[in-house]
Symmetry: C2
Subunit: 255 residues, 2 copies
């Protein structure tokens, strides 16, 4: 446990669907009691930070909204950093809308500087059409994350990468993606945690998002085998995680 701070994935690392993951609660309790800086980083843009705190609480994991960085919040911070007065058209759920409201950005469907697309399970043709027209008129196209599919109790359902593909196909314009494995969310995370990148470890279960995000950001990585990726998945990749552990209990036993 030789790092001064931790960036930690949620789904597959802290919980799996509605199931606890062994060691997660104990690990966060350790960080809390020793006042070790950490930040949960999730591509999920549909939940507010408050809702993430509540979800973690349901697994017995205690944290605060200041320890949560969703792709929604990272997107709002990124746009705010580019243009404080940005007029934004948003496709997305309460997590994304709330993040933009809290950032003091203008949400509108007229004369937009940005079109932001996050997972929206109330997507309509009118929303896709409006986004397409605004992008064709010159609005910059931003997507919270490129996840093609999301795991649910019913199976793998369309993720935000899927809705984003509808708009990029319609317009011929590729978006800027904010979420893991892209750098934008990681840069926002580094600002928030306030440590040098040598002192930070990125922990996650998904090689393609979490681990690549760490590798792209020059941050050491720990892949836990409690979620999506398996040891077999790593055989074909050239850039390996810094560490691979069965779970966070095994990590905590590292001296």
């Amino acid at each position: 446990m030789q790092y001064k701070g931790y960036l930690i994935d949620l789904d597959g690392t802290m919980y799996r669907g509605n199931h606890e993951i062994e060691g997660a609660k104990k690990f966060i309790h350790h960080l809390n009691t020793h006042a070790i800086p950490y930040l949960f980083i999730t591509n999920n843009s549909t939940l507010t930070r408050e809702a993430v705190v509540q979800k973690l609480a349901s697994f017995g994991i205690t944290t605060t909204i200041h320890h949560i960085l969703t792709s929604a919040v990272a997107t709002a911070k990124y746009i705010k950093g580019q243009n404080k007065q940005a007029a934004c058209f948003i496709i997305g759920e309460v997590g994304l809308i709330t993040a933009f409201e809290e950032a003091g950005l203008t949400i509108t469907d007229q004369n937009c500087d940005y079109v932001i697309v996050g997972l929206d399970r109330e997507i309509t043709y009118d929303k896709l059409a409006k986004a397409s027209l605004l992008i064709r008129q010159g609005a910059q196209f931003i997507s919270t994350n490129s996840d093609a599919a999301i795991p649910t109790e019913a199976g793998l359902l369309p993720g935000n990468g899927s809705l984003t593909a509808a708009i990029s196909t319609s317009t011929g314009v590729q978006p800027i993606f904010v979420g893991k494995p892209e750098n934008i969310i990681m840069e926002e995370a580094m600002k928030l945690i306030g440590l040098d990148r040598d002192n930070v470890l990125m922990i996650g279960d998904n090689y393609e998002t979490d681990i690549l995000a760490g590798i792209n950001a020059n941050i050491d990585t720990l892949m836990v085998l409690t979620g999506f990726s398996t040891l077999e998945d790593l055989e074909a990749v050239t850039k390996k995680p810094t560490y691979i552990k069965k779970d966070l209990i095994e990590w905590m036993h590292v001296k």
Copy 2:
């Protein structure tokens, strides 16, 4: 006018949005009065053949449903030819639903053999999710056409290629496309018109759909400059249309 039969595009060739195109009415009147075989071929899957006949009538063009091949009808015929008892999940509008009902195919969302996607301006996340799950369970993925965008009075709005991209991204499965420039709709057209391909001319305004459909099907092509593609668009292409004319009036003056 040296061909025994004609395959004719609609939008940009017979009308443009709500506007008449010079010569279209006269050309079809000539075919009707001389009993020359012809078939309108459209990628639009949202309209029934009856609705297409009515739309043409609004421009003074007289025809019958037997002269209409929509991508909806071509898709239903294609699937019927593969599996008469096919169970089909359909995303689409009345034109697509009606084509499958008329073909006597089973429309359901359980244990499907096929998932068929056509433009649906009442698309929902649930429809995208259902399609994704069924394709992941092994249903064959068919799309009426790959048009990325459709011209409307409001501008270029998402076409069926855009909705299809959402599902192919979500599932990682590429569909079979039926509409122009693919061969499936052209093969259905050749069966319906009942002539050798040497005796048939494909007429359209869009190089990427109409003209390439003809070229792919080894049918002579006439590109009219009354719609989407321009002479400049042709500079970069290696496979040229057989003929290029300003409009159908110019074509009718060819001896």
